[in-house]
Amino acid sequence: MGKFVLKRLGQMVLVLIAVSVLIFAMVRITPSDPVASMTNGKNVSEETKQELREHYHLDKSYPEQYVIWITGVLQGDFGESFTYKQDVDFLIGERIGTTLSLVLMAGLLAILIAIPVGVISAVKMNTWLDKLLSTLTLIFVASPVFLTALVLMLVFALELKWFPAIYQGNGIREMILPAIALAMNMVALTSRITRTTMIEQLNSDYIRTATAKGLPRGRVIITYALKNALIPIITVTSVQIGTMLVGAVLVESVFAMGGLGDLLISGIKAADYPVVQGVTLLMVTIFLVINLLVDILYAVLDPRIRMK
């Protein structure tokens, strides 16, 4: 087990190196002028421009720039933002709490809704209840995150006034609508997978054995079928949580939440290389860590994986 984790960590480092190069290159491929955004498009002398370029190492070759950036990153220094004139570490630190709580809340909400919905649909397969749940989840699969967010805001914040429309960082109530908006897509996909996997498990031989040896139906469904169905469910959920990081960018922007998403978008608009690089690299890292955790979870759940 320890060896397995070490091996995966090693792979993770390789992936991160490759990703850092990609991010670095992609930021520079975009047709934008960072100096122009530093000066807010004002006319400044060529000297000032040259000074700015030197200050941010933009006068150096790309390989040199990469080395400067990555050396900083390895020391925990993501560089200085072109537009905010502040450390990217600080900018991220200020906002990461909002984004992580949003993703965490949405993820929890999604799992808590999706798994029961999927299990009920599977147990009540082809009844009106299953069909109703299927229709609802299909609607949410089809609806993109920003649309769900806007509709929720329109109905529950502007019309019914149950929740505030704008997030101002005051407690969990403000987070509910954004979290629901972000969760719905995942609820839909995870509950579909739960349903399919559960139906498959419920029709399997060992469930017939469990029934034939007289275990109560509830126990058969939860401790036998659901536990066996968890691996595919977790796989989908982990991918979804990764997607959620991206969705969070959109939701944050709809509810003006000022999280990492906002920072990323403004960074892209302003060609703020250090911000874009820093935030993207962080998101990739979070995604990779989730994947690693999921692989460990597989081994915990399934002895066939654990003992290999």
Binding site: N126, S204, Y206, A212, G214, L215, D302, P303, M307
Partner: protein, 328 residues
């Protein structure tokens, strides 16, 4: 002698996408206390369906059961789901054809045995675990204390079937239904499993309903045997008697098609034609279209099970004479 299990006129209809399938159309079967009773027949004749019906393992939404299944005088078809759960595993238990997939893959074998034991007896964890080890030792899985902690995928097919048996006898049931328990195993293991079942039946006074398509298995293990064809039992009798002189033309044809029965070098006997599709309820003898002895009357009504001497029953208008060798 009172029968332990008595099935009368059991019909099972399954709702399929192609319409109603008359899977069982009036099965009569009786299992006596302590006996090993075989059910033989070709694929799709309703052997497994009968077995599953006793424990009511069909999906109730897609099947309809009628008739009577009496176990120790209790009508099983009238029991509530809760009552049925209590009866499964305690009074009647069951093992299946494919031990590889019949065990929960992510639970230790000891855990699976202990789990059902606790549900039925309310025993504590430690006691149930003790019991699980004891049961594993009883079915010949040694050393039980170590094996208990293993997962199904760490065991061979034969061992897995032994685990299934250990689980099935945990609460000392009066009837064990064994649905093709050796079909998925190789021949030497088959013999061991059958021997184990016989020994357990004798030791515990447990009846076994053994479903198989293999007359060899029946000959070696069963006290009595019922032959099924197209959703009905067509003949029941003492194993030796039936093997030597079956009264129903189908039983006789089936026995004659066992490989190795004829003279060396002779062609393997077969039954011409194929079993009917079961999309319509039977109105006449289902075997009549393939039967060399069929007469006009055979196509008009269904023959009831009738005694042809000494408790030997056959559903045939013209049961064959036991002494006269049949020509198929």
């Amino acid at each position: 002698m009172d029968n332990l299990l008595e099935i009368q006129n059991l019909t099972v209809e399954l709702m399929s996408t192609r319409g109603i399938v008359y899977a069982l159309s009036g099965v009569d079967l009786a299992v006596r206390p302590g006996e090993i009773h075989g059910i033989v027949g070709e694929s799709g004749c309703g052997k497994s369906m009968t077995a599953k019906s006793i424990l009511r393992l069909h999906n109730p939404q897609r099947s309809r059961m009628r008739g009577s299944i009496r176990f120790e005088g209790r009508e099983l078809l009238d029991l509530s789901n809760r009552e049925m759960e209590k009866l499964r595993g305690t009074d009647i238990s069951m093992i299946f054809q494919d031990p590889m997939t019949s065990l929960n893959p992510i639970m230790t074998i000891g855990g699976q045995i202990a789990d059902m034991y606790r549900v039925h007896t309310g025993a504590g964890k430690a006691e149930a675990w003790e019991k699980a080890q004891e049961l594993l030792a009883k079915v010949g899985i040694e050393p039980a204390s170590k094996r208990c902690k293993q997962y199904p995928f760490e065991l061979s097919g034969g061992m897995q079937q032994r685990v299934m048996i250990a689980m099935a006898i945990a609460c000392s049931p009066k009837l064990l239904i064994a649905d093709e328990p050796t079909t998925a195993l190789d021949v030497t293991i088959q013999a061991q499993i059958l021997e184990l079942l016989q020994q357990l039946s004798a030791d515990m006074g447990m009846s076994i309903l053994l479903i198989t398509h293999n007359f060899g298995v029946v000959a070696e293990t069963c006290d009595r045997v019922s032959v099924m064809y197209a959703g009905k039992v067509v003949e029941t009798g003492d194993t030796r008697e039936l093997l030597q002189g079956a009264s129903h033309p189908y039983s006789r044809a089936l026995i004659r098609s066992i490989p190795g029965g004829g003279a060396k070098g002779s062609r393997l006997e077969t039954i011409p034609g194929s079993p009917p599709a079961l999309f319509e309820p039977p109105l006449s003898c289902m075997f009549a279209p393939r039967c060399p002895y069929a007469e006009e009357g055979c196509l008009k009504a269904y023959p009831a099970m009738a005694d042809c001497g000494g408790g030997h029953l056959a559903a045939c208008f013209k049961p064959l004479d036991k002494e006269v060798p049949a020509h198929v």
